[in-house]
């Protein structure tokens, strides 16, 4: 396939269509409105449905309805919009409905601003909505990876019958980079959902899709089923990248856009003879605790960098425990840290410890 230059948002849209997504419901919000715009143009060309809803609450409930039929469905939004969807996301997790959500995170809390941020990490990985549930959360750091993870998101959503989230940010959404798209998925090869989907009950027992049972013992059974599923996902789907960690004495932990900036920091440090590496979770849930913990055997210092007040930091500390020190650097409010400022902060941290 030929390489093309595309914006992150459009890349996710095209990847979704190639993965077999034929239904998109969404409500515009900066910095991701190019994605619904792209879908409004492309979906009719492939016989799909694009619908601009009246609100994010309507969006998530349309997703619920469409997902019940077993078709591949998607929406995209940005921080405040995703908050509005939370109730429906929780319903879909309980009803075990596959769907793909994209959150192109902007500055927050509240209305915040429209610049890149990572302040929705807790919302994405620790719940967000009510009740006991988890989302599979994928955090791309390049436009090509956004393409690849979008395709994966649909496959994982189907495999585990669960809502899956692409956790991006404004920078990744707005930047352009060459990508190679996968071939179009032959729709007849999509997973068979006939055992549970709403396809018309003529000549068969009706299917029931619900997120409700009045009997606590039955609801607990539903809870336990989810717990089993999440254990299975934790066992099979942990993904991460390590960059120059083989001989690293210091390891930067970061996800998404910041991880990419941190790669430049690693290169700067190596030029100065400081042995720095990078640990980047690709799935932020399930979190790669074990591979990160393993690094404590040879690494002296961990340096977590994020565009929030220290949200993934909690998972980093869970993995590392008290085995090794964990320092932290961040910018918030839509401010993107530069390679030099991260490197300066890292050097200061090293200076404090010698």
């Amino acid at each position: 396939m030929e390489k093309v230059m595309v914006k992150g948002t459009e890349a996710i849209g095209e990847a979704a269509i190639r993965a077999g997504c034929r239904h998109f419901f969404g409500y515009p919000i900066t910095p991701q409105s190019e994605l619904p715009e792209y879908m409004s143009k492309r979906l009719p060309e492939v016989g799909g449905v694009f619908l601009q809803t009246e609100s994010e609450v309507a969006t998530v409930n349309m997703l619920y309805g469409a997902a019940c039929t077993g078709t591949r469905v998607m929406t995209s939004t940005s921080s405040p919009g995703f908050s509005l969807m939370m109730e429906g996301v929780s319903y879909m997790a309980c009803a075990q409905l596959p769907a793909v959500f994209v959150n192109v995170v902007r500055g927050g809390p509240g209305l915040g601003d429209i610049q890149p941020a990572q302040g929705d990490y807790w919302q994405a990985t620790k719940g967000g909505g009510h009740g006991d549930y988890k989302l599979i959360v994928l955090a791309p750091s390049t436009v090509q990876e956004a393409v690849d993870l979008t395709v994966l998101a649909f496959d994982l959503a189907d495999k585990y019958r669960t809502p899956t989230l692409i956790l991006a940010d404004g920078l990744l959404g707005q930047m352009m980079e060459p990508v190679t798209f996968p071939e179009f998925r032959d729709l007849s090869t999509l997973p068979d959902h006939s055992s549970w989907a709403m396809t018309g009950a003529k000549d068969r027992e009706p299917h029931i899709i619900t997120s409700f049972d009045i009997d606590p013992y039955i609801l607990e059974k539903m809870n336990l089923e989810l717990v089993e599923k999440y254990k299975e996902i934790e066992k099979n789907e942990v993904r991460w990248e390590e960059f120059m960690t083989e001989d690293a004495e210091i390891v930067i932990t970061a996800f998404g856009t910041v991880a990419r900036i941190a790669k430049s920091v690693v290169e700067m440090a190596r030029k100065d003879g400081i042995k720095v590496g990078l640990f980047r979770p690709i799935t932020v849930w399930p979190y790669p605790y074990e591979p990160l913990k393993k690094l404590t055997e040879k690494v002296d210092l961990f340096f977590d960098v994020e565009m929030n007040m220290g949200q993934m930091l909690e998972d980093v500390k869970l993995a590392i425990g008290d085995k090794k020190p964990v320092a932290f650097y961040s910018r918030m409010g839509g401010v993107v840290p530069t390679p030099t400022e991260i490197y300066e902060a890292l050097k200061k941290e090293i200076g404090r410890r010698v």
């Binding site: 230059m5 429209i114 707005q174 352009m176 980079e177 941190a262 690693v266 530069t338 390679p339 030099t340």
Partner: protein, 179 residues
């Protein structure tokens, strides 16, 4: 090589960066294009960052650049300190009527982009005059790759503008070779 293109919204600085990135991709290089975005773009300043590299591009965010292109005075002032030693500083003389504070240890090129574009018959190609100067001086990509990028980018009704854009690139290359 890291590039910053900056100017007023409407001067075509985003397109300049995109064409350069596209040309880099055509040559098999790794590239990123990152815009400034937000409400400040309307009538205010606009800028984009391009990285062209033989290896994978790590950070698309830069705080140092080998090349800074300033199409107006605020951009010259804002980005002059981003330049690395021996960096290239391109200034649109048609709009910038003063000297930069940063002068030592860098290469400065001044072009009357607007006048040159106007002479070619379309003021809007001032950005491509400047891009011609950039590729002429830095040799980062070939003229042919930029032409191919223009053909890819300007399609449909815009295709009739390809020729004058090519002329603008050539004129910019010629002017910079005289400096």
């Amino acid at each position: 090589m890291r590039f910053i293109f900056a100017g007023f919204g409407g001067q075509g600085v985003m397109l300049m960066g995109q064409i350069l990135a596209y040309a880099g991709m055509i040559e098999g290089k790794n590239v990123t294009w990152m815009p400034s975005y937000g409400p400040e773009m309307r009538g205010g300043t606009a800028n984009c960052t391009v990285v062209v590299s033989d290896g994978p591009v790590a950070s698309p965010v830069v705080d140092k650049a080998e090349v800074v292109v300033a199409m107006n005075i605020p951009s010259m002032i804002k980005f002059q300190d981003f330049l690395t030693e021996n960096g290239f500083f391109f200034l649109n003389k048609s709009v910038i009527d003063r000297e930069p504070d940063r002068k030592d240890g860098i290469k400065i090129y001044k072009l009357e982009c607007n006048e040159i574009a106007d002479k070619l018959g379309n003021l809007k190609v001032a950005n491509m005059v400047m891009l011609g100067a950039v590729i002429g001086a830095t040799k980062i990509v070939s003229k042919e790759s930029v032409f191919k990028a223009l053909e890819k980018k300007l399609t449909g009704k815009k295709a009739e503008l390809i020729e004058i854009n090519k002329l603008a690139i050539e004129e910019g290359m010629k002017k910079v070779s005289e400096q």
